[in-house]
Structure formats: C-alpha cells, structure tokens
C-alpha cells in the first residue's frame, strides 16, 4: 500500500515535548522535542553526548523521563518498560546488538510474543511464521540458524523482524549501520523503506550524512540534550546540519596556549593492523597537539593501543626523536617516554578503590622505591604535589579515586603519567562524560604539557574539542587516514566531511 509522503498537515503518531532526564545531576536531556509522522523517516542528528541514546532509552521504556510529555496517537502515555513499549507499537533496533546468541533466529524474533498452543510454546508455528517474516524481508537465512552464527547486519535484521511480529507503529533505528558494509546497509534501507511505505513512522539515528539524505524525509538536530532545529530534509544541506550540531563558541571552552613548534618528536610510518587500521602515517612535533577525529569504529582507539604496545602492529614503524623504536608491550612504551590515558577511565585508567596517592605512584614505584620498599612519606609528597599542580579537588592524597568526580579522576590518571615526565601523551576521549568546567581544566593541563616541548596526541569524537585544542587534525574513517588538516584548514565542515565521506 503506497502512502504518499505526508505533508506538514498530517498528524504525528508520536510527539515528545520538553522531555527532561538527568543522571546524578548531569543533564542528559534538557529540552527534547520530537515529532514522528506516519510513512516518514525522521533523522535524529547530534554529536556523541547530545542525548540521542537517552532519548531512545526513554522511548523504549528503559529510562523514565524526569519531566515533559510523550503523546502517542493524541493520548499522553508513560512507557513503563520495553515490553510496554512493544505493546504500544514502539520498536527499537538497538545500536549494540540485542540478540540472544544462545537461541535460534525464530526464537529471537518471537522472544516476547511466542506463539502458543494452549499454554505451551508452539515451535512449529513459530518456525513457520518466522520463515514468513524473513521471506517478507527478503533475506535468505533459515529460522533454525543459531543467532550466534549471524553477522552483525543479520542480527539487526532479526531485530527488525522482531518488530514485525506485532503492529509496529514506530520503529527506531539507533545507528544501525555503524558496523555494516555498504551492501549490508543498502539491504537494511530497502527494508526500512518498505516499512515506511506501509505507514510506519521511523526514527533514524545516524552520523552518516550520505545515508541521512538518502533515507530521511525530515530531520531533528540535538545538541547538549536539547533539540535545536528541525525541518524537511529537502530544505536543508550538510553545512546547515553541521552548524546546528556544533553551534557553540569554541574559544571559551578550549584554553589553548600559544606554543612554538620544535623538531619532530614522534613519527609513525605505514602502521597497519589487520581489521583495525591500515597504512597510518603521521608525525608530531615538540609542542604540538595532534587531534585525531573519526566516528566510533574508525580505528582510532585501536591505533592508540597499538602505539602503546597493547597490541602488535602487522607492519609499519614508529620513530621517536628520529630513531626507530620497537614497542612490543606497554612497559616498552613507558620506557620510551610514551603515556596513554585510555578512553575507559573507570576500567582502564584509574584504579577506583585505590587512593589518589596509590594511583599516582603506581607507574612511579621504580623511582619512589629504589630498593624495592615503598616509602609512604615520599608517595604522599608526590601525590600532594600533583593534587596542587593539576588542581585536583579532593580531601587529600588518601581519598579513594572512586569517590572523586569524573573530571578529577581523569586528572589523577593524567597526573600518574606526568609524574614520569613522558614526552608523548596519548589521550583517548579525555573529556568523555565529564562536566564543562572540568573539561577546560583537563585541556589546560594537556596544553601546558605541550607548551613545555612535549607532544600530545588527542583522540576525540567531540568536534569542538578537536577544533579547539589541535594544531593539526588527523581524520580517520574505516581504519584509514582520510585527511590531515592544519589548524587553519580544520573547519567543522571539512573534518566531518572527511570523517563521514558526506
């Protein structure tokens, strides 16, 4: 049944107005407004941390909003839990695959609507109906296949099939193509269009502008937990959308110090690691901050982990001060003056149940305890020095890192490395999940470190941070370097285009 693309006059199936949600004082959503129309695809666009995931979780009942209204078919609703969402006709294809590997495709599709005969599961009917749905979706795998044998794309399709077991009014696709190849994504879009033509309202979350322009009819842009613009896709363009996404003054947030660039400190040549990144080459000079931008899955973290010796490269070389170095484990990396502040601060960066002193001293025990015995006095001295130097807000060096705020935890992680006086500091999403004030403080610390004649390599998904702090920006997409831009060339448009191939 062909439903023509509805005009502005048609009534939305689902509207959200002024929806708010905060987690422990941090606002994830401040003012979320959204309208989904039948037979239309609405693209939800925003940077990481703009509140998209929180919005999805509210719509599918995993989180309850603190305030605001959700209206479905003209009636106020509260989505109690995911099962309730499904009953209301709201279905989600989640970004991370929500599929049961230990069950068959058929059982996955009917996980919350098992066909029954009397009170018992009717396996034959389940298989038959699953086969029908899979055929309707025009995919070739068997309903008896164990889900563990499916590819990521096929698992997404199983989730869509799940939506088709009931009357799907609203289908949310949460970055479904992040891990898919072009062909797999095309298959997914074909299915999405068919659902749209049957009158379903789709919400499509994606970073890829190419896909947004190909699939969506409308857009809504989120920034810092609020919707900041919406309209018809036909009346907009990439530049406009990027401006809405980023749209804040960059200078205030990023206190970058003037530096003089010295000689080349770190050079990476043709570094490759199968399935992670390929032929990555770049160099960083003394005093320089190199920003590495890319979407999730572009291979940035994998590159950093390889540089730091956590994984071994398949080919390529790393040079420090003009000399080739071999780094086969993190201890080598540390000896060569490298330091790595990982993305997952709580799991990989800090040891939360340890005190600040214990954390700061951990990589420095060699110098603090030359004869193999720890010296509590000297440890506390060192910790106190860095608490002062980085402005760590804590009751003292004995406070547990787990009790500190995210920003102060990150400062502790940076301090433990700075105490070793490294030459190259690799930061992976250094300000992820920490509040604005602490962000500038972290930036001030790294900028000062660079100013003293060291090199900083900063991976970030936050465009303003990349643009604000970097002397040069390296953009990665699908494991390859797509652009290396000087500070003057690095505009939001250029960087995003290189990262998304828009």
């Amino acid at each position: 049944m062909a439903v023509a693309v509805q005009q502005e006059t048609s009534h939305p199936i689902l509207t959200l107005s002024q929806v708010r949600k905060s987690f422990g004082g941090a606002h994830a959503l401040r003012d979320a407004n959204l309208a989904l129309y039948p037979g239309q695809v609405t693209a939800l666009i925003g940077e990481n941390g703009a509140g998209k995931s929180t919005l999805v979780k509210i719509l599918c009942g995993v989180h309850q909003p603190d305030g605001g209204e959700i209206v479905l078919d003209g009636k106020h609703v509260r989505v109690h839990d995911p099962e309730h969402a499904r009953q209301l006709g709201i279905n989600v294809v989640h970004q991370e695959c929500v599929v049961f590997d230990n069950l068959s495709v058929a059982e996955n599709i009917f996980i919350s609507a098992r066909p029954k005969q009397g009170r018992f599961v009717a396996w034959r009917e389940m298989r038959k109906r699953a086969a029908e749905i899979l055929k309707q979706l025009d995919v070739s795998f068997d309903p008896d296949t164990p889900a563990s044998q499916l590819s990521v794309a096929q698992k997404h399709i199983v989730q869509i099939a799940r939506a088709l077991t009931s009357d799907a009014r609203v289908l949310i696709l949460d970055e479904p193509t992040a891990a898919l190849s072009h062909r797999e994504a095309d298959d997914l879009f074909r299915i999405a269009r068919r659902l749209k033509d049957s009158g379903c309202a789709l919400l499509f979350i994606s970073h890829k502008f190419e896909e947004i322009f190909a699939l969506a009819d409308r857009y809504v842009v989120f920034r810092d937990g609020a919707s900041v613009g919406d309209g018809m896709i036909a009346h907009t363009n990439t530049e406009h959308l990027i401006r809405l996404m980023v749209g804040r003054s960059v200078e205030q947030l990023f206190p970058k110090l003037e530096t003089t660039l010295g000689e080349e400190l770190l050079r990476v040549e043709n570094l490759s690691r199968a399935q992670e990144f390929e032929n990555v080459s770049f160099s960083v000079r003394r005093g320089e901050t190199l920003g590495i931008y890319g979407l999730v899955g572009a291979g940035r973290t994998e590159l950093a982990q390889c540089l730091f010796g956590l994984t071994a490269p398949d080919s390529g070389s790393v040079h420090l001060n003009g000399k080739a170095v071999s780094i086969s484990n993190p201890a080598d990396a540390v000896r060569n003056g490298l330091a790595y502040v990982p993305e997952d601060r709580q799991q990989q960066g800090a040891i939360l149940p340890f005190s600040i002193a214990a954390n700061v001293c951990l990589p420095n025990l060699g110098s603090l305890a030359p004869r193999g015995f720890c010296n509590r006095e000297r440890e506390l001295q060192l910790a106190n020095h860095w608490i002062g130097a980085l402005g760590i807000k804590a009751t003292g060096p004995r406070q547990n890192v787990g009790d500190l705020s995210g920003g102060n935890q990150q400062k502790v992680v940076i301090a433990k490395w700075l105490a070793r006086t490294p030459q190259v500091l690799i930061l992976d999403e250094p300000t992820k999940g920490i509040d604005v004030g602490a962000k500038s403080a972290v930036h001030a610390v790294t900028s000062e470190f660079a100013q003293r004649g060291n090199a900083v390599v900063m991976i970030s998904s936050e465009l303003p941070e990349i643009l604000g702090m970097s002397d040069r920006v390296l953009v990665m997409r699908r494991g390859r370097v797509r652009a290396l831009l000087d500070r003057s060339e690095a505009t939001a448009e250029n960087v995003v285009q290189a990262a998304t191939d828009a």
Partner: protein
C-alpha cells in the same frame, strides 16, 4: 533451533555414549553390575543428585550458582525430621509440604539477595550455606534424629517400590520429564534461557534477568527442600552434617552435563546424563576395587577435560567470526 539443538544434542549424545561405554566396561569385568536389581539401585542412588542438579541447572542457566543447596537440604531435612519426631501422627503430606516450603523460602532468600541487592551469587550462597548449616545446629541442639524416632510412613515412602523402582527413583524420572518438557515448551522455561544467554538483551525485551534469577533460586531451593526429606528418609538419620559438601557434586554433575557456567546453555538430558555418569562411577569403583576417594578426582578430571574441549570450540568459532566480519 535445529542447529543449536544439534550442537547441544551432539554433546548429550556423546555423553550418553560415554556413560553407556563406562557401564559396558564395568559389566564386561563384573557381569553382576548389569543385573536389573543393581541398575535399579544405581538409579535409586542417583535420584537425589538428579533432582538437585536440575534445580542447580536453572540457577547456573541464569548466570548464578547455588552453593547452599546441600545446606538447604540438610536444614529442611532436619526440620521435617523434628516435625515427624514431635508429630508422628501427622502423616507424610504435611511433611512434604513443610520440606518444599522451607526449601523454597531458603531459596527465595538467596534469590532476593541476588536480585534486589545485586550481590554476587557466589558470595550470597557461600554465606547462606554457612548460615543454614548453623541453623541446623541451633534447631537440633547438635543432637541426631535417628530412625527409631521417625514414623514408619515417614521412612517407608521413599522405599516403596513400583514396577521394580523405588518412589525415589520415580520422583527423579517424573522430575526430569517435567523439567525437559517445561524448559522447552513453557514461556518460563524459555525465559530462563533468554535471561541467562544475554541479560542486557533480556532487559531490552522487557524481561527482568534478576527476577528470573530469583525464580531459579526459589525453584532450586524448593527442590533442595524436598530432597531434604528424601535424604533423611532414605538414610534414616538427620544430623548437622548430612550431605556435607554435596553441593560440589551437584555442580559437578551440571558441568559434566554440559551446562555452561557463563549461563544460557544447558539441557535436561545432559544434566541427567551427568548425574548418571557420577552415579555409575560411584557404584562401580568399590566393585573394581578402587578406593571411592578416587571419585572426586575422576569428576574433577572430567570437568576440566570438558572445559578444555569447549574452550577450544569457542576459539574456533571466534576465528570464524573474525574472518566473516572482515
């Protein structure tokens, strides 16, 4: 399903073959081992283990573990023994209800601690294991309840024979049949697999994995309670230390039977075969003239060997996955 069934069915088939082989080898050397009366005895001897292992399977399927089953069994057993001693005229029905009820409550305590307080299952049940044992001492004052203090009905039920098998053995057969059917054909049974296979996915489909864990502990506890009565009646004695350390045999039976400690995978047939494996060895060792102390060693070797095999299989799978996503 057919494929997942296949890999599980293949494993069950292999284990079944091993159990038969073991049985055949013992019989070849000692023909009396295969006499119907002896087979019935081996089965009678394995019945309690089978029932407990089926309960434990539910708990492990949902990513838990219940170290307190044997203590629960002993406490429930002491409770009904004392009840029978004081009210010998009450009959067996109240005894059964009391056993199942007290076991279920003790299991529910585990379940609520794991679900509501989100405590690690191994810590919770290690703790309750000691608490339940301690309660037996408080309840009994450290004294024994002997067979002369138990009523004939209380003692006789488990020994009553039907078609050559004891009531105890029939209970295990009925239990395994109900479990096999329930795990495959009821929503609750499928939910145990789903919640244990991928708890976060379960949450996103509106199924609370913590609640399923709590269910599993309660059912496991109820079974342990029932087995408490069966144990006390079978051995005709109740004291603080009955079934001491038996939880390890129960867990071993599950692991030998192919229940994945990481949750979500396991079959009733596998668990029953795991129990029979242990039962055959336990009954054959004295016959062959090997000290029963070898029993634990053999169980251990089988568990480690099974773990090594399944770890290698997992590695194969992962490498396939990696080449596929390339």
């Amino acid at each position: 399903m057919r494929m997942t069934q296949n890999s599980a069915a293949r494993r069950d088939l292999a284990l079944g073959f091993i159990v038969l082989l073991l049985f055949g080898l013992v019989t070849a050397a000692f023909p009396q081992f295969a006499r119907p009366s002896n087979v019935a005895e081996v089965f009678d001897d394995s019945a309690i283990l089978i029932m407990l292992a089926l309960g434990q399977m539910l708990v492990i399927l949902t990513r838990g573990i219940d170290l307190s089953v044997a203590a629960n069994l002993a406490l429930s057993g002491m409770l009904v023994a004392l009840f029978n001693k004081n009210y010998p005229g009450a009959g067996v029905l109240p005894v059964l209800l009391l056993a199942v009820g007290s076991g279920a409550v003790l299991g529910l305590i585990n379940g609520m601690l794991v679900w509501r307080l989100k405590l690690p299952p191994i810590v919770v049940t290690l703790g309750t294991m000691s608490v339940y044992r301690g309660l037996i001492y408080l309840l009994s004052g450290g004294t024994w309840v002997n067979d002369n203090m138990m009523s004939p009905g209380f003692l006789g039920l488990v020994r009553f024979e039907l078609l050559g098998l004891t009531v105890l053995a029939w209970l295990a057969i009925i239990g395994a049949t109900v479990a096999a059917f329930g795990m495959r054909y009821t929503g609750l049974g499928r939910d145990f697999y789903a919640a244990g296979g991928n708890p976060s996915a379960a949450t996103y489909t509106g199924l609370d994995p913590g609640r399923m864990q709590c269910f599993a502990y309660t059912i496991c506890g109820a079974i342990a309670g029932l087995c408490g009565y069966l144990w006390v009646a079978r051995f005709a004695v109740a004291y603080t230390d009955i079934a001491l350390g038996f939880e390890l045999q129960v867990i071993a039976a599950c692991l030998i039977g192919g229940v994945a400690i990481a949750g979500g995978i396991g079959t009733v047939a596998g668990v029953v075969l795991g129990c029979l494996f242990i039962g055959v060895i336990r009954n054959a060792l004295p016959l062959v003239g090997i000290s029963p102390f070898w029993q634990m060693g053999i169980n251990g070797i089988v568990i480690v060997a099974a773990a090594v095999l399944s770890a290698r299989r997992r590695e194969d799978k992962r490498s396939i996955l990696e080449t596929q996503t390339a």
